[in-house]
Symmetry: C2
Subunit: 188 residues, 2 copies
DNA sequence: TGGGGGTGCGGCAATTTGTCGTGGTGCGGT
DNA sequence: ACCGCACCACGACAAATTGCCGCACCCCCA
C-alpha cells in the first residue's frame, strides 16, 4: 500500500536517504528541513498524511511542536519521532502529545518501518528490563554522540570528555564501522 | 490538599518509605506489593484515587498491565511509573497506555511529587538534548544498577561486566555514597 | 601559500584494571 | 555452636588502557 509520508529532518544526508528509500518502496514522500517549511507545507497540502517522521532536534526549534500541527492536518497520521540523543522525558512528552513512537538514531530502515507499524502501547508489553553491561552502554552512547557529530572524531571526543586518541583506539577495537548507510541502502 | 494515593512496589524498603513520607504530607496512602493484591485492592475500594505510583518491575508481572485497571477504577488518576532501569520503549508504552509520567530510580521525593504534578506533554517542552559526558553517563548507569541490586556491589559488578574490585575502587572515588535514604527522609 | 582543523598512527609515562590474597562480618543449615 | 557461603574492605603487583606528546598528511578557505 502506497502511503503519504512526511519527513522533517534537518540533516541533508539522512533526509534524502530516507526520501530515497521510502520512495523506492513506492510511497509518496514529501520532505521539509525546518519547522517553518513543514508548517508551510502542511498549509498548502490538501491530501492527508498517513505517516510522518519528525526529527526532534531541528536546529533552533523543537520537533515536538510539530506534532500538534501535523495531527491537526491529518488526525490519523502516525508520527514517529526520531532523535540523535534521546531521553526518557522527551519520549514521554512526545507520546503525550500524540506521537506514535519514538526512536533514537542511528536507526535502520527496518527499525523505522517497524516503529511506524508497531502498536507500542497496546500489543507489545516490551520486555521489562535487562540491565545492560557497562561496555555495551558505553559503546552505544559513543555511537550516538559520534553520529550526532557527523562522524567527527575530534568533536565527539571533546563532548564525551575523553582524549581523541582514546576514542580513536576504542573505535578501532570494535570494527563496527558505520553500518548506517548500509542499513538504509541495502533495501530496495 | 490531601489526596488518595496508591503505591504498588515490590521492594519493601522503598514501599514503606514512600508510604511513610507521603502519609507525613497528609495524604491517604494505600499500598500493594504485587499486581494481584493491587487488583484485589481496587476491586473492593469505593473511593477513587487521585494518584498512583506503580513500579514497572513487579517480580513476575509487569506494572504496565496495572495502568488500565487503575484508570478503569479512577479515570482521573495520575499514574507515575517508577522503574529501576528505565528504557525509552517502556516509557513510550507506559505513556500510550495512559500513564502520566515515568521516572527511573533512584528518584527523590521531590522528583516524584514533581513528576506527578507536572504536565509533561502540554506545558513543558523539555530541553532538547545535551550530550552528556561519558563519565557522567557511566556514573549514572552504575548508580542505577547498584540501586537495582540493593547496593550489592558484587552483583552489580557482575551485571555491569566489570571486576568487583574495579567497581569498589570507582565508588570510592566519587564519595557520593548513598543519597537515597537521605533524599526520602529529609522531608517532613 | 599560509593557517586551521581533521585523521591516522607510533611511542612512552601515568593511571587504571584484572587478579591474586588476607581479614572480617553476617546468615542459614545441621 | 560450628561450618559453609556470600558479602565487603583492603593491599600488592602485573597487564592493559589512557593521556599526551609528536609527526605526516589532507582538505578547505582566505
Amino acid at each position: 500500500m502506497t502511503q503519504q509520508i512526511l519527513v522533517v529532518e534537518d540533516d541533508v544526508a539522512l533526509r534524502t536517504q530516507l526520501q530515497r528509500v521510502l520512495t523506492r518502496r513506492s510511497h509518496d514522500v514529501v520532505t521539509a528541513a525546518s519547522a517553518e517549511s513543514c508548517l508551510a507545507l502542511l498549509a498548502e497540502r490538501p491530501v492527508p498524511l498517513d505517516a510522518a517522521i519528525l526529527d526532534l532536534n531541528l536546529g533552533e526549534d523543537n520537533g515536538l511542536d510539530l506534532i500538534e500541527p501535523v495531527l491537526a492536518h491529518s488526525p490519523d497520521c502516525r508520527i514517529l519521532m526520531l532523535t540523535g540523543y534521546g531521553s526518557i522525558p522527551t519520549a514521554v512528552a512526545a507520546t503525550r502529545r500524540g506521537a506514535h513512537n519514538y526512536l533514537t538514531k542511528p536507526a535502520s530502515l527496518d527499525d523505522i518501518l517497524g516503529a511506524l507499524s508497531a502498536n507500542p502501547g497496546t500489543e507489545t508489553p516490551p520486555l521489562p528490563s535487562a540491565p545492560p553491561s557497562l561496555e555495551r552502554l558505553e559503546w552505544e552512547h559513543i555511537q550516538r554522540v559520534l553520529e550526532e557529530h557527523d562522524g567527527n572524531i575530534s568533536a565527539a571526543a571533546r563532548t564525551l570528555g575523553i582524549h581523541r586518541r582514546t576514542l580513536q583506539r576504542r573505535l578501532k577495537k570494535r570494527p563496527s564501522a558505520n553500518d548506517y548507510d548500509r542499513d538504509y541502502d541495502r533495501d530496495y
